[in-house]
Symmetry: C2
Subunit: 407 residues, 2 copies
C-alpha cells in the first residue's frame, strides 16, 4: 500500500522478504497488487487478493495520520467495524517515552483494529499489525517499514502460518551462488536438474554478479529435506565446478573474507577503474579490519608510480591498462603494505577511453602472493560503465577466492 510503492520511488523489498520467509512453509506468491493512497483503490485490491489466495500480506499504511488508510480500508473491505483496543496504547506510549517524548494524540488511531482481528505486537515501532481471518483467508497486516515488518514477521507471523499451513511436510530452501559462467551455460550444465517437476526444485536468477541457484526441497522432516538439498548441491557442484562460491547465499566479500580470517592472511588492494569498489565491498563485512590492511585507488599514472612503484617504463611501453601494469600494481601494493596478498584491477570502464585494440570493457586483474607466483587475468566485460565496474570488482574478489580454495 502507498503512493511511493506505486510510483516505484520505493522498490518493494518487503515482497521479496515475505516470499523467501514463507518458502519453508511451502507457500508461494501468486499475485502482487499495489494501490496508492486512495481508499477505494485499497479496498478493490484487498478484495481481489482475498478472493484469490489463502494468505494475503498487506504492508504499509498503518501510520498515525489520516493518509494511513489500511486499518479503515481492511475494515470496509471485509465488512468489519473498527474497534478501539485500549490495551494497545501502553506499548505505543512506551515507545515515545523511550525517546523522551509524549505520544501525540494522533497515534491513538493505531489502537484501532477491525472487529475479529488479532493484534501483532511491534517491538521496533509504534504501529501494531494484525491478523484477520475472513473465511478461509488469513489477511496479515504489517507496517511498511522493512525493519519493523521483518521483526514482526519473525516474532509472531511465522509461527502463526506454520500452525495453520504446515501439513506433514517441511520445506527447506538454500541459495547456491556462482560467478563467471553465463546463465545460458549454467542452464546447459544443470540440464535435467532444472525440471520444474523435480523435488528439489531449482530456480535460476541472473544478475551482473553471476547466477544464483534457488533450491527448494519438500520432505517429511527438516533433516530429510536438508539431505535432499545436500545431494543436489553435490551434483550441481560437480557440473558447475569452481564457479560455485557459496552454498549459503553469501557475497564473495564474505566468502573471501572468511577464508582470509581462517588462514590469518592479510590483503591490500590497488584499484584503478573500480575506483574503490573492491575496497568498499571488502570493508562492508564486519571484522574486515582483521585482514584488510589498506587500499589504494591509483587513478592517475603518477599515483601508480608514486604509491605502487609501477615503473614508468611499463606504463610507457604497455599502457595503464595492460597485464604488465596489473601485475606491477598487485606486486607493488602487496610489497609496500607487507601483506600476504596484493590484489589489483585496471581497465577501461567507459563510456570513453576505448580504442580498437583496447576496447571499453577490457579489464586486467592480478593477484600477487607473498613468496609465490602472481596470477594475471584478462576479462572483456559487456555493458555500461556501472556494469563493467561491478563485474570487475566481482572478478577480482573471485580471483582471490579461487586462489584461497586452490582452484
Amino acid at each position: 500500500m502507498g503512493n511511493e510503492l506505486l510510483t516505484g520511488d520505493t522498490l518493494d523489498t518487503n515482497g521479496r522478504f515475505l516470499t523467501r520467509a514463507v518458502e519453508s512453509l511451502g507457500l508461494a506468491p501468486r499475485f502482487k497488487h499495489v494501490a496508492g493512497d486512495r481508499e477505494e483503490d485499497v479496498i478493490l485490491v484487498l478484495r481481489d487478493a482475498a478472493s484469490r489466495a489463502d494468505v494475503v500480506f498487506v504492508t504499509g499504511g498503518l501510520g498515525p495520520t489520516e493518509d494511513d488508510l489500511t486499518r479503515k480500508s481492511v475494515a470496509r473491505a471485509f465488512d468489519r467495524r473498527l474497534i478501539f483496543h485500549p490495551e494497545l496504547l501502553p506499548p505505543i506510549r512506551d515507545y515515545f517515552a523511550r525517546a523522551g517524548q509524549e505520544m501525540p494524540p494522533d497515534n491513538e488511531r493505531q489502537a484501532l483494529l477491525p472487529s475479529g482481528a488479532k493484534p501483532i505486537p511491534n517491538p521496533l515501532g509504534t504501529a501494531p499489525g494484525f491478523i484477520l481471518e475472513d473465511g478461509r483467508t488469513s489477511v496479515i497486516v504489517l507496517p511498511g517499514v522493512p525493519r519493523e515488518m521483518r521483526g514482526m514477521y519473525e516474532a509472531s507471523v511465522h509461527s502463526y502460518l506454520a500452525s495453520r499451513f504446515r501439513g506433514g511436510e517441511t520445506w527447506e530452501v538454500r541459495t547456491v551462488r556462482t560467478t563467471g559462467v553465463p546463465e545460458s551455460k549454467v542452464n546447459e550444465l544443470l540440464g535435467n536438474l532444472l525440471d520444474l517437476s523435480r523435488n528439489p526444485q531449482v530456480g535460476l536468477t541472473a544478475s551482473d554478479l553471476g547466477v544464483d541457484l534457488r533450491i527448494r526441497a519438500r520432505a517429511g522432516s527438516r533433516d530429510a529435506a536438508s539431505g535432499m538439498i545436500d545431494a543436489l548441491v553435490e551434483d550441481a557442484r560437480a557440473r558447475l565446478g569452481p564457479a560455485v562460491y557459496s552454498e549459503a547465499g553469501e557475497g564473495l566479500e564474505q566468502v573471501a573474507g572468511r577464508l582470509l580470517a581462517e588462514r590469518r592472511k592479510t590483503l591490500a588492494i590497488a584499484e584503478s577503474c573500480t575506483g574503490g569498489l573492491v575496497g568498499a565491498r571488502v570493508t562492508s563485512v564486519p571484522g574486515s579490519s582483521a585482514y584488510f590492511e589498506r587500499g589504494i585507488v591509483s587513478y592517475s599514472n603518477e599515483s601508480k608510480e608514486a604509491l605502487l612503484g609501477v615503473p614508468r617504463s611499463i606504463l610507457a611501453a604497455h599502457g595503464a591498462v595492460s597485464p604488465e601494469t596489473a601485475r606491477a600494481m598487485a606486486e607493488g601494493i602487496g610489497r609496500s603494505a607487507g601483506t600476504d596478498f596484493g590484489l589489483s584491477v585496471t581497465g577501461i570502464a567507459g563510456p570513453t577511453g576505448g580504442t580498437a585494440g583496447k576496447p571499453v570493457g577490457l579489464v586486467y586483474i592480478a593477484l600477487a602472493v607473498r613468496d609465490g607466483e602472481t596470477r594475471v587475468e584478462e576479462h572483456r566485460f559487456p555493458g555500461d560503465r556501472e556494469m563493467v565496474r561491478a563485474r570487475s570488482a566481482q572478478a577480482a574478489l573471485d580471483l582471490l577466492r579461487r586462489h584461497l580454495t586452490g582452484c
Copy 2:
C-alpha cells in the same frame, strides 16, 4: 509479468521508469498488478487493469519460448486471435545476423500479434512490442528487459501517448535533492508548499542519503509550467538553504564532480570506515579522471602513518576516530597527492568497536584546502554498518560540495 518480479528476485525498476516517463503527460499510476508465469493469472490481472485505467502498460513475457505468455494472454484477455505478421521477421533475423547467428525457429513466435494490435519496433532486442486499443483503453505491451523497454518507450510510445492524451495542458516535472536535513524538518520548513491541492504539487521521498522533492507543475505551455517550477524551487531553496544540492535529480558525486571540473580543481581522498565508498562514488562519473587523482583506504593505523603521514602521537593521543586524525588524514592526502583538495573520513561503522565515549555511528569528516583552512565536521549517524557507511560517504561529498559553492 513474470515469476522473478512476483518473488521480488527482480525489483520492478520498469514501473518507476514508466511512472516518471508519463508524468509530463499528466498521467499517474493507479494500480500495479504482478502475475507470475501462469496464463490464467496473467489474464485475470490484464482484465482487472484494463477495466480500471485508460492506459495499461504490460512488461515482460515476450520472449521466444512457451513460458512467454504475454502475447497469448493479451489475445485471450481481450478476445482477439493471434495473427502472424511476416513483416516482423526480418528485423529479428537481422538482430541474430549481427551477432553472426541464425534465428532459432522458436523466435518466429515473436511475429505473432493479437488482431488489431500495432507493432512497436525493438531496435535493441528481438521481441517487438505492440499497442492494442480495446474500447477506451490503450494496452501497451513492452519487453521486460529495461534497456529494450526504455528504448521503445522513448522511440515510439511517448509520442503515441502524447497524441492521445495531451490536451490543452502540459506537465513539467523536476527533482530537487537535499541532504543533511531529516524528513520531519523538511516537512516543517516546506509547510504549505506541500499542500496536495497546490499546483505545482510537491512530493517528498526520503532515503539514507537525504530527502528528494518531486515537483510537478501543470500549465498551458511547457514554458509556463517550467516557470512555475522555477518560482517554487526558488521558494523551497530560501526555506531549505544549503541543504539543496541538485535541481536536476543528480547525485552528489555528479554535482561535486562538475564543480571540480568547471574550476579545474583536483581531489584526493583518504578513507577509513567507508573503505573506498567515497572513491567508488566519485569515479562512477564518466570523466572523473580529469579531477580525481588518487584515493587511499587507510584501514590500519600503520597505513595512516605510512601513506598519509598521520603522526603516531596524534593516533596515540586522540585515537584513529578523532577530529585530529581526520584533519591529519585530509591534509596528508592533499599534500602527498599535490591536489587542491584532500577529503577524509574516519569513523566507527559498527557493529563492534564502539565505546561509551565513541559510539557506533560517530564519524569525522575533514576537507583540506590548498593554501586554506581545513574544515572538520563531526557526525553521529543512526543505523547499521551499511547505513553509517552510506551516510558518511554522502556527508563527505556534501562537505566538498558546500565548500565549492561557498556555503
